[in-house]
Symmetry: C2
Subunit: 133 residues, 2 copies
DNA sequence: GTACGATCTAGAGTGCACTCGAGGTCAAGG
DNA sequence: CCTTGACCTCGAGTGCACTCTAGATCGTAC
């Protein structure tokens, strides 16, 4: 088995968009918002050329977004990575803070689930009792 | 111990807002959006008078909102309740559907948490190894 | 050399869920 | 009475995160 991942492979914006599951508009907008850890290089003609690892970066951003991190937090994290090594403690703090926010969200959802399930259970039992289910 | 809840108690919009933890603007807007299960009665002077159980209704709406239900779903549920008894099966279906959405959200968040924790752990170990923590 | 699909920029538009403001009315205290 | 604070309606404004448009350019394939 050899390494099947070609780390020198680059992507056009269209390829990256379809691989990452976002629109090309979104990629350009993310760039304008400072969400990339380094400047996106261009061809002589001006087209964007994305490095292979951009895909992993976008996957991380997607996880952060999915879990409720606002764009400002992504920007902050990108800025830390862009600034280079030496700020790992800050990156860690940011990630841990989001981890705690995630824990809070999960607890909230579990509490909501309990209330809603209880309500549903009540309807279900009433329907069963009346032979309507 | 006697019943300490006065179910005949009514609320002004300001009272209800502070008890329910929303703004008076939001209560009026919810009403305009059809999120109440019955028309809100008014004083001769035109002020809204909320029944005691409106508080419980708002608590349920809050849980639905917190767990990502769009206003359209709240409106749909309110419409079913407004329509009176006979559609309990539909109410049940709506609640169960939201319950499933909630389960999906919780799973998504748990997956995100894993990715973010792993990333944080990597930073933490690197910092520890360099004696910076 | 030309067709055509992907890409470029700048900026406007969208959807959601509020949130606020203007201008006026109501009602309890003094 | 009169003041004052809570309330009324209607409509405009806000913040977020995209999403789309217009009009131009690039680059590969005939």
């Amino acid at each position: 088995m050899e390494d099947v991942i070609d780390t020198t492979r680059t992507f056009s914006i269209g390829e990256l968009a379809s691989l990452a599951g976002v629109s090309v508009h979104t990629l350009r907008w993310y760039e304008a918002e400072g969400l990339f850890p380094r400047d996106v290089p261009r061809t002589p003609g001006g087209r964007r050329v994305y490095a292979h690892d951009t895909l992993a970066w976008l996957a991380l951003l997607a996880r952060l977004r999915e879990s409720g991190a606002p764009i400002a937090v992504l920007r902050e994290y990108a800025a830390l990575v862009r600034a280079g090594s030496g700020n790992e403690a800050e990156r860690l703090a940011l990630l841990r803070a989001h981890e705690r926010s995630l824990d809070a969200q999960i607890e909230t959802l579990i509490a909501c689930r309990q209330v809603i399930s209880a309500k549903a259970d009540a309807y279900q039992e009433a329907l069963l009792a009346r032979g309507l289910l």
